[in-house]
């Protein structure tokens, strides 16, 4: 836990430091090249924009893009379906309709409505507008966001991770039918299941009640861990760095421990025995705030911040390759950047496990608090 906190702190500080310097640089480099060079990422502001674009969800799955010799921008990847709930009901089309445009200049007409994509969000244009107009702070004035149920890159990642987890563990489950000790992949998965059971669930929830919560804890642990790891692959998923995902996971934990709270738990939360009666309402407010707000919030922010910070730092350090080119030359800059990125990626592999562990561990701890039965004296 200590190491985890230190790592978290270190990464947070590193990210803050990175963003501060990048933002300073942003002012001096504004508008120097723009789009003329065909979308190459060369300057600090472009790097910042690129990192932020990566951290956000996206509507297509792009692996890499390059500018061909004819000056044409080529994207390597595949489009994903866009499913939006609009003022006229459900509308679906493929994200390729936007032609990788992300600043609202490409308008897609579908079902009698006009759509634009601005910073990875789908906007529905007002009925009389033909193009998106922006105010000074770059907010669209004649378009509004729609409820977006698209299979975005994150949703695709979730589905992929779910499929992997499902296939892996049903295979393990089948193996037990024929042999006592699993082989192959199952041999690697079994200790992880045992780890979650013996190191997370049992000590925190207690021998009597842990069984009921095992499916939830196992699912959450592997879900977060696999998605964290997928975020470190060149496919560049950033699922657990999406605030919506971590909010959802934290709410699940909240629902699980609130719905399983024992009589003792509610009594200790709402009407703490052994405390002067005047203090009890105050304590009740504090305890309720703790269980309903602070604990889920700490869960969702910890996971979100760690993964976002990790991705930002790794990408930022990778960008040193470009930024240090003038000082150290191509080979020097690439070498420095490669060594540092490798180092950070290794740390991120650790963090990927650690954050899955901490989330599951704290979920188990909170569940343990809720189902605990006190000895009455």
């Amino acid at each position: 836990m200590n190491i985890a906190q230190k790592t978290t702190k270190f990464l947070t500080i590193a990210v803050i430091a990175l963003f501060t310097t990048v933002n300073f640089a942003l002012n001096s480099n504004e508008n120097n090249q723009g789009e003329e060079d065909g979308g190459k990422v060369n300057t600090k502001s472009e790097i910042t924009a690129y990192i932020q674009h990566h951290l956000a969800d996206s509507h297509d799955f792009s692996l890499f893009s390059y500018t061909s010799s004819e000056g044409e921008r080529k994207h390597f990847g595949f489009p994903l379906p866009v499913i939006v709930w609009t003022s006229k009901g459900l509308v679906t089309f493929m994200s390729s309709a936007f032609h990788h445009n992300d600043d609202g200049h490409v308008i897609v007409e579908k079902g009698g409505l006009k759509f634009a994509k601005i910073h990875s969000k789908i906007y529905e244009l007002d009925s009389n507008a033909a193009t998106v107009s922006f105010d000074e702070s770059h907010h669209a004035t004649n378009a509004h966001k729609v409820l977006d149920f698209s299979i975005t890159k994150s949703v695709f990642g979730i589905l992929l991770a779910s499929l992997l987890i499902f296939l892996g563990f049903t295979k393990l489950a089948k193996q037990y039918k024929t042999k006592a000790i699993p082989t192959g992949l199952g041999r690697a998965l079994e200790p992880l299941v045992l780890y979650v059971r013996d190191e997370i669930a049992r000590p925190n929830i207690g021998e009597k009640k842990y069984r009921k919560f095992m499916p939830y804890l196992l699912t959450v642990f592997f879900f977060i861990w696999i998605l964290n790891l997928m975020g470190l692959t060149p496919f560049g998923f950033n699922v657990t760095g999406q605030i919506a995902i971590t909010v959802c996971l934290a709410l699940f934990t909240l629902v699980v421990y609130i719905s399983n709270g024992t009589k003792d738990f509610w009594m200790h939360t709402l009407w703490m025995p052994g405390v002067p009666k005047l203090l009890r309402p105050i304590l009740a407010v504090l305890e309720l705030a703790g269980f309903l707000l602070i604990k889920p919030f700490s869960l969702l922010v910890r996971l979100f911040a760690n993964i976002t910070a990790g991705h930002s730092v790794v990408m930022g350090i990778a960008a040193l390759m470009i930024l240090l080119k003038t000082q150290f030359g191509t080979v020097g800059a690439t070498g420095i950047s490669f060594a540092l990125t490798l180092f950070l990626t290794v740390i991120e592999i650790l963090v990927a496990f650690l954050q899955a562990f901490i989330f599951t561990m704290l979920s188990a701890l909170f569940i343990g608090m809720a189902v605990e039965e006190h000895e009455h004296h």
Binding site: D148, F149, R211, I243, C248, F252
Partner: protein, 165 residues
């Protein structure tokens, strides 16, 4: 980085649905069988260890029993041998005692018979002496009438014979 502007309700909803479906599917097809098998295996191992321990204890008891039996047998043998020795010694002692008694009685009898013989011999001698004396007296009386000198010679002659006898 506007976190709350970044929050997508659609993504949240899809994630919730997928997670619930995943939970239900995994619970049914993966976690339940896996955890059940693991527990089964663990109890199996525990039972096996317990029975092994029991077997070991039983073995220990058996060897202890064997040792106890051997000890008892040894003690019994010792006791039996001791008894036999005692019996033998007693027998020897008794025999000696008996022998002593028998010899003593034999000696006694012998002495008695010797004494008897002696008495008988003495009685015989006495009788002989009496006979002899009577004979002598007879002869002396027969010869007295003839010659005094002859008488004396005769007595002397008889006495000589007697001494020679």
């Amino acid at each position: 980085m506007d976190i709350f502007n970044d929050f997508s309700i659609g993504l949240f909803a899809l994630q919730a649905v997928i997670l619930i479906v995943l939970l239900v599917l995994l619970k049914k097809f993966a976690w339940k069988p896996i955890l059940a098998s693991l527990e089964e295996r663990e109890t199996g191992i525990e039972d096996a260890l317990k029975s092994a321990e029991n077997a070991r204890k039983e073995m220990q008891n058996l060897t202890a029993d064997n040792e106890r039996l051997a000890k008892e047998a040894r003690a019994e043998r010792d006791a039996m041998m001791k008894e036999a020795r005692e019996i033998r010694e007693n027998m020897i002692a008794e025999a000696k005692e008996d022998a002593k008694e028998v010899t003593a009685s034999l000696i006694e009898k012998a002495q008695a018979s010797i004494a008897q013989e002696k008495q008988a011999a003495l009685a015989e001698i006495k009788k002989n002496v009496a006979d002899l004396s009577i004979g002598i007296a007879e002869s002396v009386i027969k010869k007295e009438l003839s010659n005094k000198k002859d008488q004396l010679d005769l007595v002397e002659g008889i006495l000589k014979d007697v001494t020679l006898n």
